[in-house]
């Protein structure tokens, strides 16, 4: 086992982490500001992936398809907010879970009706194919490197928007005291719609980048959603910073666990025991980690400050 291998696995972990972050960011914003549990957030990730494939076939240009898919997912997100989600803010969490679970079923069937149940073909754009030599002897796929860069850029952008702009100020204010913000003459309804659409677009960005490496198919969002929920619980619900840290930590723990847990176990227990325990343990590692975080910091690593 060499240092290069560890570095490469850490890059893999980072890549998984930023992918999780893109979806987690929107989910945690919506939870933090609207106090809404949105299980259908994974569906918006799926919608983004489908739009990406559809617009690529239509325009033939990857850049154009990304722009159009982002815009389309933003619109879908805002429509979902106006039509379905808006009525749920005043309900309790159980109602929200039930209703948004219904949305998952709706969207899965919808894409199956529109695009069919079979997985769609989505390939890496030729310009981003191939490898880049990051260090001597360390070749990394360009596309995955681009995902890392885009994810980190989005994180930076989000930080600037939330902490340095007027809309960011409103978002933070809306999160900590909704009534006061409304009393000061801010259109909270519109603010919520914009935030929801924005979160949807982020999830859509994750989905359309995931399309070429994962499978574009109905239900592709659910597997990811579970990990994303772990991310926001670890990071602290409602906190963008927490989502970023949580996502990277979960990505790292999951990837490094899958790669190195078995060989490490083999040095402690017998190889056959490691063979059977290793994979099982690796797949539950992030949940063990979540349980540990909850035990020591029930509010998550970076809880959002709120008063209600």
């Amino acid at each position: 086992m060499t240092g290069l291998l560890v570095v490469e696995q850490m890059l893999n972990g980072l890549q998984l982490g930023v992918m999780l972050f893109l979806v987690a960011a929107g989910l945690t914003l919506v939870f933090g500001i609207m106090n809404l549990v949105n299980l259908a957030h994974g569906s918006l990730y799926m919608i983004g992936a489908y739009f990406g494939v559809a617009f690529l076939a239509w325009t033939g240009s990857f850049a154009a398809s990304v722009a159009l898919a982002l815009l389309a997912t933003l619109v879908v997100g805002m429509l979902v907010e106006v039509i379905a989600v808006r009525t749920l803010y005043e309900r309790d969490h159980l109602d929200q879970v039930l209703a948004t679970f219904g949305l998952i079923l709706f969207f899965n069937e919808l894409v199956a009706i529109v695009w069919g149940r079979a997985a769609l073909f989505a390939s890496v754009p030729p310009a981003l194919g191939g490898f880049v030599e990051l260090l001597p002897g360390l070749r990394y796929p360009v596309y995955r490197a681009v995902i890392i860069l885009v994810g980190l850029a989005v994180a930076l952008l989000l930080y600037v928007v939330v902490s340095r702009t007027r809309i960011g100020m409103l978002i933070r204010a809306g999160a900590s005291n909704r009534t006061m913000v409304a009393a000061l003459g801010v259109n909270v309804r519109l603010l919520y719609t914009v935030v929801f659409g924005f979160g949807a677009a982020l999830a859509g960005l994750g989905g359309l980048m995931a399309g070429p490496i994962y499978t574009v198919q109905p239900g592709m969002g659910e597997e990811l959603l579970i990990e994303v929920l772990v991310v926001i619980v670890i990071g602290g619900i409602g906190s963008i910073r927490g989502a970023l840290v949580g996502a990277v930590v979960v990505g790292m723990v999951d990837t490094l666990g899958r790669a190195f847990l078995k060989p490490m176990l083999a040095t402690v227990v017998s190889p056959t025991a490691a063979d059977s325990a290793g994979p099982a343990l690796a797949s539950m590692l992030i949940y063990v980690f979540m349980a540990a975080v909850l035990y020591f910091r029930p509010q998550g690593l970076f809880p959002a400050v709120r008063s209600r």
């Binding site: 893999n12 972990g13 073909f121 490496i213 499978t215 198919q217 659910e222 994979p279």
Partner: protein, 391 residues
């Protein structure tokens, strides 16, 4: 007078009800598969094939009116078991069929056979059910899990390959696949890696694989997992470096989604769309005509499952209470299977041929699987000696 008249009316109504009940008693088949989520595409192939089988039978299985109750197991054993319970108790089905995943099958089959109902599996073939847990009321129209990788192991052994890196999802069938492979492959296995069932990203495992630098890779990644693995393997640039051999990974479900990333790959199977026999030509031809896509082995097995049930119900002339008679009829495998004629071993698992297939560019420019040669003839599974059932 009034009492007599109402008594007559009552008697008439009662008689009518009895007649109706008898005339309308249909054969009920519960069909469990995965219809939602990423594995839903496999379920669609199976469901469409069941519907085609019903069309071919004039919507009458064994000459009786037929009712099919579909259930979606969501790839979860507990959900599968609940569905089986519901089908048995609420719908009072005469047969339960289907089931893609071995872990689901291990929960469903004992529930069904334990209730005295016949189970016809049409995909999963966990070794327990072929060996110690074999049951008079349990049949399968597919295979025992180990058999297909045994054929691949045999082929790779004959090719003199060595230094194999083996990968599979971490569940009942994944373990069976690797142990079946190793039964006939005697070369060196560098590593056995088990990943989470339903995993999406294999980048960490592929990085480890490249670092281990094996000469050959052997994988079992069915359905959505196969699509992801094949793509990511190609994207990692390993397709040109390390040859990939697989079972249940390159098929009519994954090929349209991965394109050239599966071209030229080798697989072993008991069936292929280009297998030459009358029943298969009819199945594949009508399937393409009705649904507009190419069927898979998942579908062929499910079609066979309905045909097997049809043969059993016909043999007892529609007397669904005669389970002994139906079991005896099913043991003969007296129906036109899409794989051609086959026989049942004493553990109710097929004795059948296994072929080597390659994905090639077909006449229409689309990638399709073609049979290259026969690896095993009349191949029995490795667990039948453990099955105490004799007949």
């Amino acid at each position: 007078m009034r009492t007599i008249r109402s008594a007559i009316v009552l008697a008439l109504v009662a008689a009518l009800l009895v007649v109706q009940a008898r005339a309308a008693e249909p054969v009920k088949i519960g069909f469990i598969t995965s219809l939602s989520g990423p594995a839903g595409i496999i379920g669609k192939h199976m469901k469409d094939s069941v519907e085609l089988a019903l069309d071919h039978l004039g919507r009458k299985v064994g000459g009786l009116d037929t009712e099919i109750i579909y259930g979606d197991d969501q790839r979860k054993p507990d959900v599968g078991k609940q569905l089986a319970d519901e089908m048995l108790k609420k719908h009072r089905v005469n047969f339960v069929s289907g089931v893609i995943w071995s872990n689901v099958m291990l929960a469903v089959a004992p529930t069904v056979t334990g209730a005295g109902t016949i189970m016809v599996g049409t995909n999963a073939g966990p070794h327990e059910l072929a060996g110690k847990m074999c049951h008079e009321l349990y049949f399968t129209t597919s295979w025992q899990n180990d058999q297909t990788p045994e054929a691949m192991g045999k082929y790779m052994q004959d090719q003199g390959l060595t230094d194999v890196y083996a990968m599979a999802p971490n569940y009942a069938a994944g373990k069976d696949m690797i142990s079946g492979f190793k039964r006939y492959f005697k070369g060196k296995v560098v590593a056995e890696v088990y990943t989470k069932l339903g995993q999406q990203d294999y980048q960490a495992e592929i990085t480890q694989l490249r670092a281990a630098n094996p000469k050959v890779v052997f994988v079992f990644y069915p359905g959505d997992m196969g699509i992801q693995f094949l793509k990511q393997y190609a994207q990692a640039g390993l397709r040109e470096q390390i040859p990939l051999y697989s079972v249940y990974t390159v098929d009519e479900i994954s090929i349209p989604a991965v394109g050239d990333a599966a071209l030229g790959n080798l697989e072993t199977r008991y069936w292929s769309p280009d297998l030459k026999n009358e029943a298969n030509a009819r199945y594949v031809g009508d399937f393409k005509k009705k649904f507009g896509y190419t069927p898979t082995f998942y579908g062929a097995q499910s079609y066979d499952g309905i045909m097997l049930i049809d043969s059993a119900v016909r043999a007892v002339k529609g007397d669904l209470s005669n389970k002994k008679g139906m079991v005896a009829a099913m043991r003969k495998a007296d129906f036109k299977s899409t794989r051609g004629r086959f026989t049942y071993n004493h553990n109710h698992h097929p004795i059948q041929n296994f072929y080597l297939l390659r994905s090639v560019k077909g006449a229409g420019g689309e990638i399709e699987m073609q049979i290259q040669k026969t690896v095993f003839e009349n191949h029995k599974d490795a667990y039948h000696q453990d099955c105490p059932m004799k007949w």
